[in-house]
Symmetry: C2
Subunit: 250 residues, 2 copies
């Protein structure tokens, strides 16, 4: 890592550096422990930026009423918390989110974010139809906030695993937060050839290694909050953010 | 309050309702207690929106290098915490903030926000020159995050009171967060005719009554996060937010 310190931030795309699992964990530690960012603060920033990324690819004025309906599928870990925040901001941006959050975390942060969504009258599904066509017909797009880096589907099991099986079969656009759920954060494998193949990937803080295997249409990074020194330390040579944008297209 | 419930959000400007101190406190309680928003979360949203408001009035590409320097003066209460977040986002937006934060809070939230700014190499002034021309010459504009509603200058005293005396005499543009420091949140009085006269006012969550006496050029509200039901309950008939904007001009 030290050899990367001080290198220029502006680089050709082929020199981009995506983070190993170890580097991503070290970056998060640096933000939380050295910079004293709070989890509530980071989850809010990432969820807001994820919602903004959705608006870039699917601008509200171009959508029919039906296309404005967004199914946000949230897992029990941090990725799911970001999904809850994303759903709330989508509601604020006048989309019509519905949340499926089958395995609820006991973490007070998750509980508070859930209350915010519930009080804002965002519907929560009590189950996800296994009939794929029902989901395709009911929603304009799906946000996958099920599993983040380092969370194995088998650890979660039950309804989340079943939800992923459904998401794999959908024909409506799919937006994955941080990594496509079920992918290994480094190799992109683990879920076989038939894993999720999102149309949009929103890397949180910085892209993880597996993003190199993402073949969808739009890849954003939502990491404007990452201080310059940390970007340099982790050799994050990323495109610049424009104006006050919180996401940048790669 | 109950008589206001259910009234239409879209209204003519003359029907706008600004909040009494009691209403503002009730709105904040509703967000914190009923909606379970966290203070870290609200302060982050307000500080980010305040920085965005600054970029609207003073767009970076229109500014000389010197004009990009922003002095952010932070008090020890919540208004100061929002100022610290505003300074961090201004840094992210490539302005050059400097912070004067003479009376530091022991609140862990304030301490963490301070660490974030310090680690991002935002300079902290150890004292504010009493010679006004030195401040006029050194900075392009000043953000007043000294005193929020209900905080009396005499409660704070010392360096904050002296800082306000200096801010009153500046000729560079002044941006006040929530209320101009020293103003009574309802009457606008309390600080006499020679109180702060900001060029820009950024109302946080919703405008307070005293905003009716604001005579500067630009008034923004940074309250997109306030849920529709709460806006209706408090009869906040405000202009709509555009796209993904977190502030709206009144």
């Amino acid at each position: 890592m030290s050899s990367a310190a001080g290198r220029d931030l502006a680089e050709a795309p082929e020199e981009r550096h995506f983070l190993s699992t170890e580097e991503a964990a070290a970056l998060e530690r640096e933000l939380l422990e050295d910079y004293r960012f709070g989890r509530q603060q980071l989850v809010e920033l990432c969820g807001h930026a994820s919602a903004v990324a959705v608006t870039k690819v699917f601008p509200l004025p171009t959508l029919s009423r039906k296309q404005r309906t967004v199914l946000v599928v949230c897992g029990p870990e941090q990725n799911g918390a970001v999904g809850l925040v994303c759903a709330r901001h989508l509601r604020v941006f006048e989309y019509e989110p519905t949340i499926f959050y089958p395995t609820r975390s006991l973490d007070p942060l998750h509980q508070d974010l859930t209350t915010q969504c519930e009080k804002m009258d965002i519907p929560f599904l009590s189950y996800l139809p296994t009939e794929v066509q029902l989901v395709n017909d009911a929603y304009g797009l799906v946000v996958d906030a099920v599993l983040g880096p380092g969370v194995e589907p088998c650890e979660v099991g039950g309804p989340c695993t079943r939800a992923l099986a459904t998401l794999k079969l959908l024909s409506i656009p799919l937006v994955s937060l941080d990594i496509p759920s079920g992918w290994d954060a480094e190799t992109g494998g683990g879920d076989g050839e038939d894993g999720l193949q999102p149309d949009v990937l929103v890397s949180l803080a910085a892209p993880k290694l597996c993003a190199g295997r993402f073949s969808g249409r739009h890849h954003f990074v939502a990491g404007r909050f990452v201080p310059d020194d940390v970007r340099r330390k982790f050799a994050l040579r990323l495109p610049g953010y424009m104006g006050t944008d919180c996401v940048a297209a790669l």
